[in-house]
Amino acid sequence: MALEADKLNRLQDVPDDFLKKIPKSQSQIYDQVVGLLSRLEVRGGVYVISNKNLQIAAEISGLLREVLLASDYTKAVTEFAKEFDQQAVINNKLFESAFPAFTASEMGATIVNLAKREAIDLLLNRASDSDFVAPLRDIIEQSVINGAGFQETLKSIRTFIEGNQDVDGALLRYSKTYAHDTYAIADRAYTSVVSEELDVEWFKWAGGVIQSTRPFCLKRHNKFYHYKEIESWGDLKWDGKIPETNSATIFSYAGGYNCRHSIMPQSVFNVPKEDILRNIENGNYVPSEKELELLGM
């Protein structure tokens, strides 16, 4: 139980810890960008509209990605990525305790690596380019093109990078979007692959309930299901469902965006009898004579 609790708590805590490090990186990046902007010519408090300034703005834009990558944000992403491996370790311990036949899965390790790569690529490359570098570049270049005020531009850039009491900084904003999901999906993907290798049939829709838990997850929270029941939900529609969710991918995507639930494999002996009976009745589960005997049914 402690292990399970640890695994589930980490689905919340690890991304949260990552996100806590971001504001410091944002300040760091802001300082660097201000340093770069000091190269631009200002006259009477506004940026001079000149070929030289446009050239400098273009050069600064070219450097933004480097500034981002050189900041502590990269270190934070690295630390976050390491937690994927740790999560796999915990999962392995859980599997060991529940399934005597379990051995460390090569496929599972590959899945973890892929998930890590995907998360890193998303946080450092794709999302950073589209949600951070590109908009910041636009702010800078438009400020020069339109001869915007120097102070006004700095304020815009500060708000964009560091945020204020009303809005998060850009890095934090998009990291929040992706951090929990990438981590949770990685955890679930690993679990799914190992479960498949172990021919696990029963799962628990485990996890914590948070303020934004959707009805889909709330209804299934901490309940036990046969894998065929879970597969059948792939075709349902609900708010927050990740579009690519289907009978196979639901084991990774679960309830969809921001879903903190883990579809944890269970031994049949941990499943409540009513859930077993339900699935015998609907034909999902055909127990062997031995299993029936052991289950006392």
């Binding site: 994927f84 690596n113 450092l124 490359n125």
Partner: protein, 624 residues
């Protein structure tokens, strides 16, 4: 080796030619001492007009132009300015670029702490002799300039004095304890009165000997010097001036085995069966002569243009003069004395028959209107007109001058940094390259000949002074003759990048550009040599660098090196003062290492390509 008889015979022949020439015409003619004499002197004098300050173009303007009055001609000549001198100066400077300090070298093979004896003499002691400059300065400044003026002139080497010692018997002997101090001496073409190339030369010196003239002794006797493979003789006129008798004194027995005389040389040719050298500058002289003539014409025309003529109505001259007791009035500018049949020019109107009507203050006085005379203001012709020649003529002359100057510069392949003057203003890119190659070829010949003379001089001086102890230093001659201007190089670099030529081609042009910029700044040249040969991103546009860095084909330290090469090199020099003296390979190695260290410490090596970023972070997670 010549015998005294042979020298005497040659002297006699030379003097006979000289006397014969003196006797011709009122001022004499130039003596024709040998087959190439007149032509050599003509060439020199033709060039001197454009090369030596103060030389007037007398021969060139001996004939007046049609319609040119004596007054106009004399005015122009009196005010003649040598406007073609800059072309010669540019030619000299272009040649001298080949001898910049880091383009050649000489190794006297001395020890670290001592100056080689020969080096001491050539670089220091020789400047205390009548030469008054170091041997290098003499060769690369004086000889370079005169080589372009007087290709048939000679440089002769002799000790500038013979150290002697008096014995107890009063006999004068050569002092064997003191080394000879040989110096070069220039004899212009006019002074080369006899020669058999490389075998012997006879020069008319500027020295004069005492000879008898009437009852007095005058210093007007001729003194010749004769050089052959063994001796240097002085041939000195003595006795009566018109007797032309000579004595023959052995000045120095050098015993070199070769004649210590070198021609200035130039472009070789053949004249009357003899080899003759022509200065490359000679080929530009016809155009420059046209410039001189047009400049003279322009000067006279300008005077007429800026001093216009006044045409105005005048009054009849009423000057009177007493002739044979009778008062006569000026008759159309003259007074006729019928008695003596003499005509006198009126001293007031100078023969014009008219008087000016200008008042003292330059005011033209007009007659008032009267019934008998129309007011002059209403006359069809104005009372006063100012007339001057049109400016078309001076403009035409200016264009001609500009055209001919440009042609001359073109012939000499002279360039300036001014983009308007690049030899020929309509030269295509191909033309420019061909032009540069032609200049390269010209300068190479010039440089090779000059260094032949340089080595000849060192050897001759060394042997004369040190004898068997002489060891010839090693001279490394210039190998680079790059003469495009900075502007032309920038054009070429820009074209090469625009046309997408391979980086190594652009690199090569940048390399030559920087060599041109810093050819005479030794340390700066070394710094840029190092950068050029180490920074492979040198000519890559920044965008390309970013792309290649993103793809991972450029390492972070290479970007650091590209951006901060000068700073890193300065740091290396601060740590090691002899950094630039090391082998280039060692400098490169140290520069790369420093760039790598800087890249690591500044996180400048952070990969920016997407794939590299992910891989780098993944590796970091595994390392933990």
């Amino acid at each position: 080796m010549l015998t005294i008889d042979q020298i005497a015979e040659t002297t006699q022949r030379v003097v006979d030619i000289m006397r014969k020439a003196k006797g011709k015409g009122k001022e004499g003619v130039m003596p024709d001492y040998h087959n190439t004499y007149l032509h050599s002197v003509d060439m020199k004098q033709a060039i001197e007009i454009h090369a030596k300050p103060g030389v007037k173009p007398d021969k060139l303007v001996a004939e007046r132009a049609p319609n040119q009055t004596d007054k106009e001609f004399n005015y122009a000549l009196a005010n003649y300015q040598q406007t073609t001198l800059p072309v010669f100066l540019d030619n000299v400077h272009t040649m001298q670029r080949a001898f910049s300090d880091n383009n050649w070298s000489i190794d006297y093979r001395q020890g670290d702490d001592e100056k080689n004896e020969l080096q001491q003499y050539l670089e220091i002691d020789i400047a205390s002799t009548p030469l008054k400059m170091t041997f290098d300065s003499y060769m690369f400044q004086f000889v370079t300039t005169n080589k372009l003026i007087d290709a048939m002139g000679c440089i002769a080497y002799k000790p500038y004095f013979i150290p002697t010692v008096k014995t107890s018997d009063g006999e004068l002997l050569i002092d064997g304890t003191e080394m000879f101090s040989p110096i070069p001496h220039y004899y212009p073409s006019e002074a080369v009165v006899a020669y058999d190339e490389s075998y012997f030369y006879m020069f008319l010196t500027e020295e004069k000997s005492p000879v008898e003239w009437g009852n007095t002794t005058v210093m007007e006797g001729l003194v010749y010097e004769v050089y052959d493979d063994t001796n240097i003789f002085k041939v000195i006129q003595v006795g009566k001036k018109n007797d032309y008798k000579f004595i023959y004194e052995l000045y120095h027995n050098h015993s070199l085995g070769y004649c210590p005389v070198d021609r200035l040389k130039g472009i070789p040719g053949v004249l009357n069966g003899e080899v003759i050298f022509q200065s490359m500058f000679l080929f530009a002289v016809p155009h420059l002569n046209d410039v001189v003539l047009d400049s003279i014409k322009l000067r006279s025309v300008k005077a007429a243009v800026v001093h216009p003529f006044r045409i105005m109505s005048g009054n009849l001259c009423v000057n009177t003069m007493e002739l044979n007791g009778e008062i006569k009035t000026c008759d159309n500018g003259y007074f006729h004395d019928m008695t003596r049949n003499i005509t006198h020019t009126c001293s007031v109107c100078k023969g014009s028959g008219m008087r000016e009507r200008m008042s003292e203050h330059g005011v033209l006085l007009l007659r008032p209107e009267s019934p008998f005379k129309e007011n002059e203001l209403r006359a069809s012709q104005p009372a006063l007109q100012i007339v001057s020649p049109s400016v078309e003529t001076p403009q035409f002359l200016r264009e001609e001058i500009k055209h001919n100057t440009e042609m001359a510069r073109n012939i000499l392949h002279l360039r300036t940094s001014d983009s308007q003057v690049k030899g020929s203003s309509d030269l295509t890119a191909t033309g420019m390259v061909l032009d540069e190659k032609a200049l390269y070829s010209t300068v190479k010949i010039f440089s090779d000949q000059l260094f032949d003379m340089y080595e000849f001089g060192i050897k001759t001086i060394g042997l004369m002074r040190m004898g068997d102890r002489f060891e010839m230093p090693v001279v490394t001659r210039p190998v680079t003759f790059d003469f495009a201007t900075e502007y032309e190089y920038m054009e070429r670099i820009s074209l090469a990048i625009k046309n997408g030529l391979p980086s190594f081609v652009v690199h090569e042009i940048v390399y030559r550009y920087i060599k041109t910029m810093f050819y005479n700044h030794v340390d700066r040249a070394k710094v840029f040599d190092l950068i050029i040969t180490t920074d492979r991103l040198l000519v890559m546009p920044n965008d390309q660098i970013n792309i290649e860095a993103a793809k991972g084909t450029i390492a972070g330290w290479e970007v650091v090196l590209h951006d901060s090469a000068i700073t890193i090199i300065r740091q290396q020099i601060e740590q090691n003062a002899g950094f630039l003296e090391q082998d280039l390979a060692i400098q490169q190695e140290q520069l790369r290492a420093a760039a790598k260290t800087l890249a690591d410490s500044n996180k400048a090596a952070m990969p920016t390509s997407n794939t590299n970023v992910v891989d780098a972070v993944l590796r970091a997670t595994e390392a933990a």
